[in-house]
């Protein structure tokens, strides 16, 4: 698909212009994709939460409440953007945009289907993890610049939590990278042509999947690790002082990050856009092949999204010391041992 668009552009413009127009179109496509996915995930979250709590959720705005997200965005745009008098004005205003930009950047190497990928760089996975870890800077900026003890406490907690859990997430990712032998996204997906890593890599990949799920829930500041924005304790933590569009930016960034993490997990563990093949059941495999790859990809992404939403509305919250203890005393050692075992198993050729 990208080739087709490339040819059309080259036919219309000179090569340089074609490149620039191509970049602009790609950027626009990503922005539209993010907005659509944010709207869909906001609606999903509210409906799923409602059904788990025996109530209906948004029902009035649009048929079955589908336009609720637009109503919310409209309301947030009309709110007065207040800056506290003694806040550090430059940092205060930049912080939400920094967090959002970082989330957008991570979309570059992700493969939605064999022909839909912005930039197939050979260090795709490394790029995603390093870029998304810059989001911590934005959170700390927001907490500090708000000139509010509660925000500062919330930002500190959040910073400590994100930095710690990146280690475990990184080790889980490393396990799969090592098993597939490539850092590039397309390389990893191609290596899953005969089965998803979660099935091929059996025990080490399964453990890595569980660790990745827990670590990424913590990185997203979502329950049960949402201490940084817990209303009952610190009145919304680091984004207490933000209102209107700036608050919407944080909100949007959280949902975008949720998508990125889901997409990364899908690429690494669940086969990306590869369809589900079961052994030698040829007829079954051919039917699975008929479903277009981008539907496979988004289907898997929505399943992991559902898992994140399910966690949030079921579990109570962990205390900050319990959170950090879980990471440093349990997840990290288990992850490292798993990595060693996984490498031994791969070297011995005991994976499928």
């Amino acid at each position: 698909m990208t080739h087709w668009i490339g040819e059309k552009l080259n036919a219309l413009f000179s090569p340089e212009w074609a490149a620039y127009v191509g970049y602009i179109l790609a950027g626009l496509a990503i922005i539209i994709l993010v907005v659509v996915m944010a709207v869909v995930s906001i609606y999903l979250e509210r409906k799923i939460a409602a059904f788990m709590q025996m109530r209906l959720g948004p029902m009035r705005v649009g048929k079955w409440g589908t336009l609720q997200a637009f109503a919310d965005v409209f309301k947030l745009m009309l709110k007065e953007p207040l800056t506290p008098a003694q806040a550090d004005k430059q940092l205060f205003n930049i912080a939400p945009y920094l967090v959002l930009t970082v989330s957008f950047l991570a979309f570059a190497p992700i493969a939605f289907s064999p022909s839909l990928q912005l930039w197939d760089m050979n260090i795709g996975v490394l790029y995603i993890t390093s870029v998304s870890s810059m989001g911590v800077i934005g959170i700390l900026m927001a907490g500090w610049a708000s000139n509010n003890k509660y925000s500062l406490l919330g930002a500190m907690r959040s910073g400590a939590q994100i930095v710690s859990y990146e280690l475990s997430a990184g080790i889980a990712i490393l396990t799969i990278v090592m098993m597939s032998g490539s850092l590039s996204v397309s390389g990893i997906i191609k290596s899953q042509a005969d089965g998803w890593w979660i099935f091929k890599g059996h025990i080490p990949a399964l453990i890595a999947f569980v660790i990745f799920a827990i670590a990424s829930t913590a990185e997203l500041n979502r329950a049960p690790f949402d201490l940084a924005e817990a209303e009952q304790e610190l009145t919304a933590g680091f984004h207490t002082e933000y209102s209107g569009m700036q608050f919407a930016m944080f909100f949007l960034a959280e949902y975008t990050n949720m998508f990125i993490v889901s997409m990364l997990g899908t690429t690494l563990f669940l086969g990306g856009w590869m369809p589900l093949h079961i052994g030698n059941w040829d007829a079954f495999n051919q039917i699975m092949d008929k479903i277009p790859p981008f539907l496979w990809f988004f289907g898997k992404v929505f399943i992991s999204l559902f898992m994140f939403i399910w966690f949030r509305w079921t579990f109570p919250r962990l205390r900050i010391d319990q959170l950090l203890k879980l990471e440093w005393k349990y997840l990290l050692p288990i992850g490292m041992v798993n990595l060693v075992i996984g490498s031994i198993i791969t070297w011995l050729g005991w994976i499928f």
């Binding site: 509305w313 079921t314 579990f315 109570p316 962990l318």
Partner: protein, 375 residues
């Protein structure tokens, strides 16, 4: 049980950080203003500031007559409003030596146990909410709604039911009362396993409440704690057993006492108390004696000059009413000894040395109602 905190005084260092919790705060169950001195995340000192909902109920009662001041007490501990009214009526009946018919006694007891059930259900829901689990709140309110509907049908109001009068109850129960209460009890018993699955057996909830907020038996007695707070520390103090009033002398139920004294123990005591309340209701619901629902008290109520005392067991502890009468139709002095006032004193020893997250868990397990403290 690694972090048994509480009852320790920490030396404060130079990095002190004073934070105000409240008065408007999602987790203080009312308008309670706490000033915390923090050293990092540890709480070094705690001071409560009250008075945000002080309405002067005791002073107001001195200018109202004996039938009127009863309904001010519904607004004190509004979750056990009926039990507060019952206490006042019992005190007045003791003063004027009125006979209450059997039917009225049993009806008052039934409504009191239903009120205790609604209070504990709301406590359970808001405990989950404070810990971060939002869904249990809705599950708790599912059953609570049905009981509140019964209240509305019987007395006209869902929360501040002004149903007790000196001499009995204001109106007779409606014909569908027995059937509906039985239906609710059956449904609640069937759904009780969900309460355990959602919170009690959840490892995250257990790790946040086991070992947190320890209150020893001696300290609880010295602080005059009553109710589930005291019973979880091993003190036997249920007024329904010690000085039975109304129909409590003819029902059998267990007094739930544990000795661990931490948040999880208080949680389990209240869960068990809900089951005991259902037992009491089941024993009484089929045998409501026929007869009068109220003794008509002629004229203006003028108790003889002197002092009168009555205590009852509300959902949170022992409520004592000290009534000083000078022979006129208005009380000379009324003192309400509310359970939450003394339970508030337990907050400081339990939270010192812990973290703010523990403070939230302790407040949820103490189950304070601030209008009861401020009156």
């Amino acid at each position: 049980m690694e972090n048994i905190i509480g009852s320790q005084i920490i030396q404060s260092s130079d990095d002190e950080f004073i934070i105000n919790v409240g008065p408007q705060h999602p987790s203080t169950h009312g308008v309670l203003h706490l000033q915390l001195k923090l050293d990092g995340e540890k709480i070094v000192d705690l001071k409560p500031f009250l008075g945000y909902i002080h309405r002067g109920i005791e002073k107001m009662s001195e200018s109202l007559n004996y039938k009127q001041f009863i309904y001010l007490t519904s607004r004190m501990d509004y979750l056990s409003a009926h039990i507060n009214n019952q206490a006042c009526c019992l005190a007045i009946e003791k003063a004027i030596q009125a006979e209450v018919p059997e039917r009225a006694r049993v009806i008052r007891t039934l409504m009191a146990e239903l009120a205790r059930l609604t209070s504990h259900q709301l406590w359970w829901g808001s405990t989950g909410l404070d810990m971060g689990a939002v869904s249990p709140f809705f599950y708790a309110f599912r059953e609570r709604e049905m009981i509140l509907e019964i209240f509305e049908e019987t007395c006209g109001s869902r929360l501040t039911m002004n149903y007790c009068v000196p001499g009995g109850v204001m109106n007779d129960i409606h014909p569908d009362f027995v059937r509906k209460v039985k239906q609710i009890i059956k449904q609640f018993r069937d759904n009780l396993h969900e309460y355990d699955e959602l919170l009690t057996n959840n490892p995250i909830f257990q790790s946040r409440t086991i070992g947190v907020g320890y209150l020893s038996r001696e300290e609880a007695i010295s602080l005059a704690c009553t109710g589930p707070v005291a019973r979880a520390s091993g003190i036997s103090c249920d007024v329904r057993k010690k000085e039975p009033y109304d129909a409590y002398d003819r029902v059998t139920f267990d007094e739930i006492i544990t000795t661990e004294g931490d948040c999880f123990a208080r949680y389990k005591v209240r869960l068990e108390e809900m089951k005991q309340s259902m037992n009491i209701i089941e024993q009484l619901i089929d045998n409501i004696p026929a007869g009068e629902y109220r003794t008509k008290i002629k004229g203006i109520i003028k108790p003889p000059a002197g002092e009168y005392y009555q205590r009852v067991e509300t959902a949170r502890g022992e409520l004592g009413i000290y009534l000083v009468s000078d022979g006129t139709n208005k009380p000379y002095r009324i003192k309400f000894r509310t359970p939450n006032f003394s339970n508030l004193g337990a907050l400081k020893p339990m939270s010192l040395g812990g973290k703010i997250g523990d403070l939230v868990a302790i407040m949820a397990s103490l189950d304070l109602i601030i209008p009861d403290i401020d009156r």
